[in-house]
Amino acid sequence: MKNLKLKSARAAKDLSQDELAKICGVSRQTMSAIEKGDYNPTINLCISICRALDKTLDDLFWEE
């Protein structure tokens, strides 16, 4: 399932996948796979994504 919340939070920060990936220390392809729902990141990576986008884990990764 696509992570649209992550995609929109990234767009709101005006960051490209590549820029966000560099901040989080992963490859652009990994960031793309997370957004597309092809890869479930570890909690450590989730936290670094949240920190980079000033969001909480609930905001980006909790499904209602």
């Binding site: 996948q17 220390g25 992963v26 392809q29 796979a33 597309k36 890869y39 570890t42 450590n44």
Partner: protein
């Protein structure tokens, strides 16, 4: 192989390792020898290593059965074993490229491609030289220069797959962003 030639090969392998270390330091952006990967890349590469491992096992088992059946190959025995390593490396490389885990986080892709093209050209020249001066055969079987031909084939497959993947990624990039 005689003692002198074995020593020559061993020294050549050691020289190759030293050159590899220097090249890795030069082509990695943070000047480290080891390539760094993120968590997804490590996970997918693990699957790649598993597939490559089983490929080599199947290859060696097949070669053992064929050799025991008395089938003669037109290549020296050591070439058959090295071919297994090349098959495993090609499978791993192809799997990694296809799953976007070939390039590490600290790799300078342009420099790496130049290194691959240089290795391809060098091995191609050595193979062509061996064919032209007739040293391709050893005791009526394909010998040492066959290694150069196998390297050329492996690098050619890897370069072709990189090109195909690059074209595919460029087509899909606009949709992702």
């Amino acid at each position: 192989m005689d003692m002198g030639r074995s020593m020559g090969v061993a020294i050549g392998v050691m020289m190759g390792l030293v050159i590899c270390v220097c090249v890795f330091k030069a082509v990695n952006t943070n000047k480290k020898i080891k390539t760094e990967y993120d968590e997804r890349q490590l996970l997918v590469r693990g699957k790649g290593y598993t597939i490559a491992f089983y490929t080599v096992i199947v290859y060696e088992a097949l070669m053992m059965i064929l050799t025991m059946s008395g089938i003669e190959f037109p290549v020296q025995d050591y070439i058959l074993h090295v071919a297994g390593i090349f098959v495993g490396c090609t499978v791993l490389g192809a799997f990694c490229i296809w799953n976007d885990v070939y390039w590490g986080l600290n790799n300078d892709r342009k420099k790496y491609i130049w290194v691959i093209m240089g290795a391809l050209a060098l091995n191609l020249m050595l193979a062509a030289g061996a064919i032209l001066n007739g040293s391709l055969m050893e005791d009526g079987k394909l010998g040492m220069p066959m290694l150069n031909i196998m390297v050329v084939i492996m690098l050619f497959i890897i370069m072709c797959e990189m090109l195909i993947k690059h074209v595919m990624d460029n087509n899909g990039k606009s949709e992702e962003e």
